[in-house]
Amino acid sequence: MSERVYQGIGVSDGIRMGKAFIYRRAPEPDTNRMIKQEQAEQEISRLDRAVEHAVLEIDELVARASKTLGDDKVAVIKGQKTFLSDPAYCPQMKKLIQEKLFSSEKAVREVTDRYAGVFEGMENSYMRERAADVRDAGNRLLQHLSGADCVDLSKLDHPVILVADDLAPSDTVRLDRNLIRAFVTRRGGKTSHTSIFARSLDIPAVVGVQDIMDGVTDGEELILDGNKGICIASPNPETVKDYHAKMEQERRMEEVFRRYAAQDAHTHDGKRVIAAANIGSLSDAEDSLKKGAEGVGLFRTEQVYLSRKTAPDEETQYQVYRKIAECFGSKEVIVRTLDVGGDKEISYLGIGKETNPFLGYRAIRYCLDRKEIFLTQLRAILRASAFGKLSVMFPMISGIQELEAAKAMMEEAKEQLRRRQQPFDESIRTGIMIEIPSAALMADVLAQEADFFSIGTNDLTQYTLAVDRGNEKVSYLYNYFDPAVVRLIHRVSDAAHQAGIPLGMCGAMAGDPLAIPLLVGLGLSELSMPAGSLAQAKYTVSMLESKSCGELAAKAVNCRSAGAIRDLLQEYLQKHGEQD
């Protein structure tokens, strides 16, 4: 067969090659069968036996899993056992058998669907995912009722890439992780079981690949690229060669990076650069600390607002912010206030469709208009600031009036808390994102009112170059190495230094190893990036020498094109990489 590339969602990084092992559950049992009155008793004892076997099976799974997996995963499996003994589960099935003459299978399906449906209708995404647990318990019962054998994952004896519709917790615990090189599934999202399991075991995984079950045959050669979220079937020899090189490179670099992840980042000649993480949730926070984050340069608070029907109240937000503040202790966490609008839509906030959303009613513009929503968030952040080192950052500031208005709101929130006698960090710093060209041009004025700047390169690049990154016809113009963008960064840096305020960056550029010497040379003191980039970034910083970075930046500012700047940087990194 010829090479095919399947696109999905990469949920666990890494590249693996191997043979496909297609895992299908036993064929669907007949869940429509009815019984006769005189069979009811027999049907009920059949269900009882299935429950008994299912419970035994779970006990066996738990005993096996507790050796290889953590307590929290075992708890998920145990949860299924609780379902099986739940007064609202099997007793209801028996009732249906007795009163409506359902077969055991039909009764199991009916009751299971009912509860799974309730969970699926919930606004909390975590609870929605729990529908899978109930279905898993139901499927287990159906399997025991049919007595049919399905492929037993625990009997695998050679390393494979597992291809499945979806993996239930009971499937994943049966796996010998040494035999599973990677997962690819048709269903699932970032927070589904497969994804969480894959990440916790460090097994690369791609989920949500629509045609994978029909497209791939058992035993076919696969390459799974969790970084890109793709699965390549029957790869060409060149693709294989490419990926062998990538894997070898990945393996070698990982060893080096691991050494650097645990250390604070500083250049060869001792200049300190804070390598911080961009996070969106508590689990991101925990993950980033493990990967060497020295703080948080961007905590996106939008997740607190998502998957809900109404705006989160102060208490709900406070709990989340507080846990994250505690997680980082004395390390700074920069909390960005609600950055809604643009491509981030939250229906209940009522922003509505706009013809030009990136230039429209969004972020700080929305917050200054909807004062109650903004004040609620500011109070929640302030209260949480009593439990760690939080700073507040306003997104999309385009000029001094907006900054002054936002700061006035901050004072109002503080005053409200003082009246309530609730503690907060009185010395909390307020800074701004520099992501609009007007803000970059007026940085000297803004610097008088802001405690720090953080450059958001994604928006700054698209606004400066007037390029929509998502539009394939023009995205080739999108480049943060464009001298226009670099000059703006240079200008912001000058303004920050003159005012004596720290300057960071939290866009994609900050985590790009090629950009790092330039950014250090331009005088940035904090680089904030996805946790996965931290180790490599720290390693890159360690190779640099601050004086030559300064010279490099001076040259870059005078380059004519993005290409010229890239060449300059590549040359620099090659030279300094060899010295190490």
Partner: protein, 88 residues
């Protein structure tokens, strides 16, 4: 019959694990134990599916009701569970 109000405290709301702990601790009591939401829906606190079906989110208030011979002991256990946030 005893009634007391509590607040759900957890990133994921009242999810699988706390529900499991509650069922485990409440099942040995002979009294009826109910969890009631502010909107009036209620669930048997000895049923994990019932509890999870309430779909309680972080910060929501609930009424716990114990009714029967050992209702005092059951309520004391509930207070301890909420106080320790279900061991989370």
């Amino acid at each position: 019959m005893i009634n007391k109000e509590f607040t759900i405290d957890g990133q994921y709301g009242f999810h699988l694990r706390p529900a499991q702990v509650m069922v485990e601790k409440m099942s040995p009591f002979t009294c009826d134990v109910k969890m009631k939401k502010e909107d009036g829906t209620e669930a048997d606190a000895k049923s994990i599916l019932g509890l999870m079906s309430l779909g309680l989110n972080n910060g929501q208030k609930v009424q716990m009701e114990t009714n029967g011979a050992d209702e005092k002991k059951a309520m004391a256990t509930l207070e301890e569970l909420f106080r320790t946030n279900f061991g989370e």
